[in-house]
């Protein structure tokens, strides 16, 4: 079943049930997204992908709204651009986005989001941010929730969308809402099994490998010198694909391609963190 919809004045035919986001992308229209991921179902929390739909009082999230016959959509009207700019401004003014994916940083420029508008005069408290201490609790992960935009992806990946471990949830509510283990207990004491699928989906660098964190802290993280190689995990017989990011002949980050039929972007602790053995030079004692 196909549906005919109109996007920015152009009629196009899409299969019914496809999301407006996919429909727009098929038409070559770029729509920003933060909380959307290919390997997770849409939660539509970031609201940066909203579009204008005729007949709807409010803007609609293109990541989750399904195309239906006769829909008339505007993807870059002033009204849409204003909301996108504000969403980006709200995030940029409350969250440290400096290690975000390049796309996100690009949209901030493109939409002219100006986070400085939200700063206060001298006589008032500074605007609220999510700044908090970095969580360094084990040898594998770093959790820096000062960089968290609460896109829910890590909770989905830890929960029923992939790992089904449920070590983390959103706790508290409103601006105080945060990703947390039970009672904010340290990760090694939680249910976490270190699959790293949360890291795999994090768009802002709030969740990263310790290896990456240490290189960044030392100022030695150098993306220009890095290369990414796709290969197959050396462990069990499932055949998950790995993307090995290497710098100076060392694996500095392991991810998994989200479009791969076997692993859908997800890995276990062995595939994600257990590739370091390649660095070990063979012993020559005998």
């Amino acid at each position: 079943m196909t549906a005919t919809i109109k996007i920015n004045g152009e009629e196009c035919s899409v299969s019914e049930g496809t999301t407006l986001l996919s429909a727009c992308r098929e038409q070559g229209i770029d729509i920003p997204t933060i909380c959307n991921a290919e390997n997770l179902s849409p939660v539509n929390t970031c609201r940066v992908c909203v579009v204008e739909m005729e007949g709807s009082r409010t803007l609609v999230p293109s990541c989750s709204r399904q195309a239906a016959e006769g829909m008339v959509i505007a993807t870059h009207s002033d009204r849409v651009r204003r909301s996108r700019r504000m969403v980006l401004e709200l995030l940029a003014s409350s969250v440290d986005l400096s290690r975000s994916e390049a796309d996100l940083l690009g949209w901030i420029d493109e939409y002219e989001a100006d986070s400085s508008r939200h700063s206060s005069g001298d006589n008032l408290d500074p605007p609220a941010t999510v700044a908090q201490p970095v969580k360094l609790q084990d040898s594998l992960y770093v959790r820096d929730y000062s960089r968290c935009v609460l896109c829910y992806k890590c909770v989905q990946a830890c929960g029923e969308e992939a790992q089904n471990t449920f070590a983390i949830s959103v706790a508290d509510r409103g601006f105080a809402a945060t990703i947390s283990t039970e009672f904010d207990t340290a990760l090694p004491d939680s249910a976490c099994v270190y699959c790293g699928n949360c890291i795999g989906v994090c768009p802002t660098g709030a969740l990263i490998f310790t290896t990456e964190f240490e290189l960044r802290e030392a100022g030695e993280w150098n993306e220009e010198q890095q290369k990414v190689t796709r290969t197959v995990c050396p462990y069990c017989g499932v055949g998950c694909n790995l993307e090995l990011r290497t710098q100076d002949e060392t694996i500095v980050r392991v991810t998994s391609p989200s479009d791969h039929e076997v692993s859908h972007g997800h890995l276990c602790i062995k595939g994600r963190f257990g590739t370091g053995f390649v660095k070990t030079e063979p012993d020559t004692e005998s």
Binding site: V48, H118, L150, Y152, G174
Partner: protein
């Protein structure tokens, strides 16, 4: 979910509280065979409530135990508990006093009461009493109000209260049932302009004997579901919760849904500041709601109904429980109600201090044992609601209209089932697009605050006059999510279409009257605080936008406004209104916007 090693152990007291809800923990009959039963996650909030009531808070040991028994992850349970204002995850003093600081209570010194109580009791110190500022407690007609939780004892409301009254009530031991508490001694303050319909039983003891038989239900059984739907359609009844959606469309949608398991939900999470009419109905006319829900069960084919009552309404909870048990005993609820060939059971669910749970999909999540975060719509509840099944959800007042529509006059036990219905009579009252009467909650700066039943279309000025408000009074219509009425709009007819044309909203029916000399800037500050406190945090426009709005208003209050600041407020308004997931964010800028338009706030 994996069984994890225990990090903490529940105490005997906690185990007993948990067993009270979940039953005794039973071991498998054989160590070599395990079966997974159906998910019991929906019992999460009830079990957390039991812990709050009996132990005072939700500890790590209790979470571990619940996690094992309900097979819900510890982090998930913590995420749920920490979402709700009334489910603390740290030890609490034995008494918690929640003092309302919204609207009418604010005008009558709620904030001073808080300060005074804090000083007197030491707030959590040796006095073993914690003082919390609370959003509106729905007792505005008898402001100021407090809601008190006593661990292992009781929870009750106090109205028209003072520091002295509160402290005295804490000393007395017979404050222990909501029925015995102060709130029941207050006048009911129910009035009507024209003939009372919805309020006709207010003041009569809420007993089945005085309610009479379920005549409307019997008429429905006799004439069939289609007859009910046709009458609802003919009545043009629209929802009274705020969105004013045609009720019959929802009923028919669920009745004709593809899936066979369906639910009926009464939204009694009345939390819009300045709103208390549903409380009045729940406390004083519970059978109207129950009868309407049984009819809904008959018509939609649902076998289970939930009444989700906000936790700050302990008396309403008690009376609904009592009424349900009376109805079951009388054979009007449960298996084959009134001899009909169907079954319908009602379960009461308590909210836990979250305004957002009045949003229907957030309410479903709450019943299901999740954080009260709204879902994306579509799909709408009639297609996929509670537990993902087709669900009819109506506000209490909406339900209360249904028996009236089906059977307007028959209230006495000696009368027989009506053949004619009240739909025709119903549409005689009201305006073109707004039929019937509506309950208005008038509070604040007026002589006779209270619940007023008035035909839809009654001019606001008439209502204000009845309530004894001065002409110069300011009015906030529809609660915190509503809008200020300018002086030249005071004669606006209170109908859906007229208010909408005037960029106003009837919303929940809150009519907050404000002394023209009152500190408006303080009230606006409080409204922005309210939305920032109550945002669920799910979407960016609302989570961050409500905070930025609050900061911006605070800057204007301190430094005065300038065009940059006002442009920022406009942008915040635009993104919250246009891009938020649900009605909370979409209306969070409404009061501020109207305050600017009406020059209350420059």
């Amino acid at each position: 979910m994996e069984l994890l090693s225990r990090t903490a152990q529940a105490t005997a007291e906690e185990l007993s509280a948990i067993a009270g809800v979940l039953g005794e923990r039973t071991e498998q009959s054989s160590p070599r065979l395990k079966r997974r039963g159906a998910s019991r996650r929906t019992l999460l909030l009830p079990v957390l409530h039991a812990l709050r009531d009996e132990v005072g808070y939700i500890s790590e040991g209790a979470v571990q135990e619940i996690s094992e028994q309900l097979e819900v992850a510890r982090a998930d349970i913590y995420g749920v508990a920490s979402f709700y204002a009334l489910l603390p995850t740290e030890p609490q003093p034995s008494t918690t006093v929640h003092v309302c600081v919204d609207m009418a209570c604010r005008f009558t010194g709620g904030q001073r009461l808080v300060d005074d109580l804090r000083e007197t009791t030491g707030d959590g110190g040796e006095g073993d009493i914690a003082i919390h500022e609370s959003p509106c407690l729905g007792q505005c007609e008898n402001a100021p109000a407090a809601y008190i939780e006593r661990t292992g004892d009781s929870r009750f409301s106090l109205t028209g209260t003072t520091t002295k009254k509160i402290l005295e009530s804490l000393k007395s031991t017979d404050a222990s049932s909501p029925d015995a508490s102060d709130a029941t001694n207050q006048p009911l303050r129910a009035y009507s302009i024209g003939e009372a319909q919805l309020l006709r039983r207010i003041g009569i003891p809420p007993k089945l004997a005085s309610y009479g038989d379920f005549y409307a239900l019997r008429a429905a059984l006799e004439n069939g579901p289609e007859w009910v739907l046709e009458n609802l359609e003919a009545s043009q009844l629209r929802g009274r919760g705020g969105a004013a959606f045609p009720t019959a469309i929802k009923w028919r949608g669920v009745a004709e849904a593809r899936e066979s398991v369906r639910y009926v939900v009464a939204n009694a999470d009345e939390s819009e500041p300045g709103t208390f009419k549903d409380r009045l109905l729940l406390e004083n006319d519970p059978f109207s709601l129950i009868e309407a829900m049984v009819i809904a069960g008959f018509v939609t084919g649902a076998q289970k109904g939930y009444i989700y009552v906000r936790d700050e309404y302990p008396l309403a909870c008690a009376r609904i429980e009592q009424a349900c048990s009376e109805a079951v005993t009388a054979g009007l609820l449960g298996n084959q109600p009134a001899g009909g060939d169907f079954s319908f059971h009602i379960e009461l669910r308590r909210g836990a201090g979250a305004y957002i749970c009045g949003e229907e999909t957030a309410l479903f999540n709450s019943i299901e044992g999740y954080r009260g975060e709204p879902r994306s719509k579509p799909p709408f509840p009639t297609e996929s609601g509670l537990f993902g099944k087709p669900t009819l959800v109506n506000n209490v007042e909406t339900f209360a209209n249904v028996p009236l529509i089906l059977n307007p006059k028959k209230t006495g036990a000696e009368e027989t089932v009506a053949q004619e219905t009240g739909a025709e009579e119903f549409i005689q009252v009201g305006t073109e697009q707004s039929k019937g009467t509506r309950l208005f909650c008038v509070s604040g700066a007026c002589e006779y605050p209270g619940t007023y039943e008035a035909p839809l279309g009654t001019p606001l000025s008439d209502l204000l006059e009845e309530a004894g408000a001065t002409e110069s009074a300011r009015v906030l219509l529809g609660g915190a999510a509503g809008a200020f009425v300018s002086q030249d709009q005071h004669d606006v007819p209170l109908s859906f279409e007229d208010t909408s044309a005037a960029s106003l909203t009837l919303g929940s029916g809150a009519v907050i009257v404000i002394d023209p000399k009152a500190d408006m800037s303080d009230l606006l500050g409080r409204i922005t605080d309210f939305f920032a406190d109550e945002s669920c945090g799910q979407c960016v426009p609302c989570r961050v936008g409500t905070v930025r709005q609050k900061e911006s208003v605070a800057r204007i209050r301190t430094n005065g406004s300038d065009p940059t600041e006002l442009a920022l407020l406009d942008d915040l308004d635009a993104v919250m209104t246009d891009a938020s997931i649900c009605g909370l964010g979409q209306t969070a800028a409404s009061a501020i916007r109207s305050a600017r338009h009406t020059k209350i706030f420059k």
